[in-house]
């Protein structure tokens, strides 16, 4: 679907989903039986937390390629470093999303300028990237509803 070698098969991704009429995935949280048994030691705050424990990652090939292009050409990358960055990426996305979502609920529902995604108290790296994005023509505003 995306032209990469990763799977979009939800069963392999460890989540269940079903198609709605528009072809959109609806993510259903897992029941407590089945694969969830090894998560029992975690605090069972609710099925949403179980879903987060599923650890959805971006495909490692894509991540590794971006890393490789970033470092000097003669450099190499350890395998566990690639896997680790893969996890960091998911953490980064979740982090931005939760901060922005919080912002969205605090402000009136509407449009947030790209710069506002950097909430006060948020880590500096997000400011870096959104400041960069302000230079991208056309992508001036984001909207979370």
């Amino acid at each position: 679907m995306d032209g990469d070698s990763s799977t979009t098969d939800t069963t392999q991704l460890g989540i269940t989903g079903e198609y709605m009429t528009g072809g959109t995935y609806v993510l259903q949280t897992q029941d407590d039986d089945g694969d969830e048994s090894f998560n029992d030691h975690d605090d069972g705050n609710g099925s949403k937390d179980h879903f987060r424990e599923q650890d959805i990652y971006l495909p490692i090939a894509n991540v590794a390629r971006i890393m490789k292009n970033a470092i000097p050409q003669t450099g190499k990358i350890a395998k566990d470093a690639k896997e680790c960055v893969q996890e960091c990426v998911s953490e980064f996305i979740s982090f931005i999303t939760s901060e922005a979502s919080e912002r969205c609920h605090q402000e009136k529902p509407g449009q947030l300028p790209a710069g506002l995604i950097t909430a006060d108290g948020q880590q500096q790296n997000v400011m870096v990237y959104t400041t960069s994005y302000q230079q991208i023509p056309g992508v001036q505003q984001i909207q979370f509803s």
């Binding site: 990358i77 680790c84 996305i93 939760s98 990237y129 984001i142 979370f144 509803s145």
Partner: protein, 119 residues
Amino acid sequence: MSGKNMEEKVEQATNSKNISLPVSRVRLIMKSSPDVSCINQDALFLTTKATELFVQHLALSSYKNGSGKETNTLSYSDLANVAEETETFQFLTDILPKKILARDYLKSLEEMEKDDENL
């Protein structure tokens, strides 16, 4: 962080309209956050692009900061070090703990037990 370096990267990123990360997967991860219902297309694109830059920034910072100069390899410990030392990456410290050798850990456990016995 050198501003000039960042400018070059932004140019690279903005000049290429291609994104090398699967947008649908990014959306999946975003939706795993609580209270997120709909995600605007621009926001999704923005996040995907931001993630690309994040990977570049993390990889390069770790490589420069770490032992890459000697071994020429970016290792896990480079990442753990940069997470601890750099403010911008501190949100990663929970998932990037520094590793210690099992035997060192067992040694320190033994020493702790000895101390308890002595009390």
